[in-house]
């Protein structure tokens, strides 16, 4: 009896801790704008992101980088860093999750990536082509960090652009600071994934595009 209670305790304790381990807080803030890229036939080919980092992380990222002029960095000088960025992002699935009519879509490796440095902050530009173009009635694109190490926020102005979308397509953006949207998201996600450990998804930015 004691032994069993003991292992029960141990298990419960381990689970308490594992659950708690998700309680990280963001160390990096990203202000994002995203463009959905459409082909001529109206199918979606990919996503182009522009992510602007906060000044603290920007200072960290450019630490030790060589530049001709002190305090400024050209696109070329930032080239290797951009390379590192997109390579590292792979592990996190680029923090970009797409579902076409409810079906998960995958992305290829990023193309056309570069960094620019303006007003002491870095912006990472990159394009994520879909593995295969899709032409769904509804596309849901979510941008968030599961572990909430990075706090993604869609830009205030023109956060999402549909590039070459067929007429009649409607875009809706649910920001995480909209309490009702988050709650809905949580329920839906919980339902769809069958897991509720995705703490960061409460902070997801959800872009929904409905096309006729």
């Amino acid at each position: 009896m004691n032994m069993r209670a003991l292992f029960g305790c141990l298990l419960a304790a381990a689970m308490t801790l594992a659950a708690g381990a998700a309680n990280a807080h963001p160390h990096v803030w990203i202000t994002a704008t995203s463009e959905l890229l459409y082909a001529a036939d109206g199918s979606i080919t990919g996503v182009r992101h522009a992510w602007t980092f906060d000044d603290m992380f920007s200072a960290y990222a450019v630490q030790g980088l060589e530049s001709k002029t002190k305090g400024t960095y050209t696109r070329e000088e930032l080239g290797p860093l951009a390379q590192t960025n997109v390579e590292s992002l792979k592990e996190y699935a680029y923090f970009t999750f797409a579902r076409a009519d409810g079906k998960k879509e995958r992305f290829q490796e990023p193309v056309d990536y570069f960094l620019d440095y303006k007003d002491t902050v870095l912006t990472l530009h990159f394009t994520l082509p879909l593995k295969a173009p899709v032409k769904p009635k509804q596309l849901v694109l979510e941008v968030f960090d599961r572990s909430f190490f990075i706090d993604f926020k869609m830009a205030k102005d023109n956060p999402v652009k549909l590039v070459g979308a067929p007429s009649g397509c409607q875009m809706k953006l649910d920001r995480p600071n909209d309490g009702t949207a988050s709650a809905q998201q949580l329920n839906e996600q919980t339902f769809l994934n069958g897991e509720n450990s995705n703490f960061g998804m409460m902070f997801a930015n959800k872009i929904t595009v409905d096309c006729p």
Binding site: N2, A12, A13, T16, L17, A21, N23, M56, Y60, G179
Partner: protein, 377 residues
């Protein structure tokens, strides 16, 4: 009299106490703060769900303080008084941040429980490990960024190496605890067998305590008669101090060679492993703040901020440590029953705490448990 129910009830109560140790170790602030009717000052949280609400609040607070740091460091360039604000923010951030993962508070709490440590030592350990954590962060940034002008990529690699080393250390530390505590537990199991024979002898409440000494001093050999002498001889003593650990130190008992290295008196030497294990891994936040401060030409302000963060962290971890030790003492009191199972149960709890450290380290090492990520990307 229901001999079946009593151990069950005791077991449940003691289990609750253990859970309290870990639960508090992990989420003390969350729950505490949940009681207070604070609103949701920051939008980035789903206030609807209970967990989201309180975790969100905690996160929001940390984020708030953390985000203010860069602006404050910038301000400090032109306005010296902003440094005071920076120090305050860092301190507050440290307090809140330590309630999150990655600060080894679970390791400290488990270590304290496993080793029957005093609350005072728990506080000392918390402060020492937080200080070490601050120093490591300052050294990492000082050497790599300031002296060598290394890039973020290089620093990140260094961080990653330290991280793996720290996880391995936690696992090794846990393994060692398991080894020692497993031995004590098995000995307690062996001792527990003949106990029912003398269970009828009326005991006082000190039962659990004297069994501590039993497994401790005599390596669990059959010394029952001797044990009783011990229990009575030290009965008043224990009550004077109200705490068997203090009693341990004061009486200067000679401890068996096996547990003595970890559980016997020996000042800092014994806690050093815990300090090293917990303190070797710097906090990502501190590294970012330091590099940012360096980039602003205010490295010293970053260093000051890092120490204040450490101080804040230490206070939270120390509070958790005290709660852990108290909860364990409650468990000890609850389990000090009539049939001698109490000692076994306490050995079991210590063994479980040791196992927990091991599991935690292994989990971190192999990525089953996500800790605070390093800033690599």
């Amino acid at each position: 009299m229901k001999p079946q129910l009593s151990p069950l009830a005791r077991g449940l109560l003691a289990c609750a106490a253990v859970l309290l140790v870990v639960g508090v170790a992990d989420a003390a602030l969350h729950h505490l703060l949940a009681q207070t009717p604070f609103g949701a000052p920051r939008p980035a949280q789903a206030a609807d769900s209970e967990a989201g609400g309180l975790i969100g609040w905690l996160l929001a607070k940390q984020s708030e303080f953390y985000r203010q740091m860069s602006a404050t460091i910038r301000a400090a360039k032109s306005d010296g008084s902003a440094v005071w604000t920076l120090l305050f923010i860092s301190f507050a951030y440290g307090i809140f941040h330590a309630a999150g993962p990655g600060h080894g508070k679970a390791v400290i709490a488990s270590y304290l429980v496993a080793n029957r440590e005093t609350a005072r030592r728990g506080i000392a350990l918390s402060f020492a490990s937080a200080l070490m954590q601050s120093l490591v962060a300052i050294l990492v940034v000082g050497i790599s960024a300031w002296v060598l002008n290394a890039t973020a990529k290089t620093m990140c690699k260094a961080e990653a190496v330290i991280e793996i080393a720290s996880y391995a250390l936690i696992a090794a530390f846990g393994l060692r605890l398991v080894w020692v505590k497993g031995g004590a537990f098995i000995r307690a199991l062996q001792v527990a067998q003949p106990v029912p024979a003398i269970a009828g002898v009326p005991h006082d409440h000190d039962h659990g305590h004297h069994h501590h000494h039993d497994a401790h001093d005599h390596d669990g050999h059959d010394h029952h008669r001797h044990d009783h002498g011990h229990a009575h001889a030290h009965h008043h003593h224990a009550h004077h101090h109200g705490n068997d650990h203090v009693h341990d130190e004061h009486c200067g008992h000679s401890h068996g060679p096996t547990p003595s290295e970890l559980a016997g008196p020996g000042g800092w030497r014994r806690g050093f492993a815990a300090i090293l294990t917990v303190g070797i891994r710097p906090c990502s936040g501190a590294i970012l703040v330091l590099v940012f401060a360096l980039a602003q030409g205010l490295f010293w302000a970053g260093i000051a901020a890092t120490f204040l963060m450490g101080l804040g962290t230490a206070i939270t971890v120390a509070a958790i440590a005290v709660v852990a030790v108290s909860a364990k003492d409650i468990a000890a009191r609850l389990s000090a029953g009539r049939d001698g199972g109490g000692a076994l149960f306490m050995r079991g709890i210590e063994f479980a705490a040791a196992g927990f450290v091991l599991l935690f380290g292994v989990g971190l090492l192999f990525g089953y448990i996500a800790a605070e990520r390093t800033t690599c990307f």
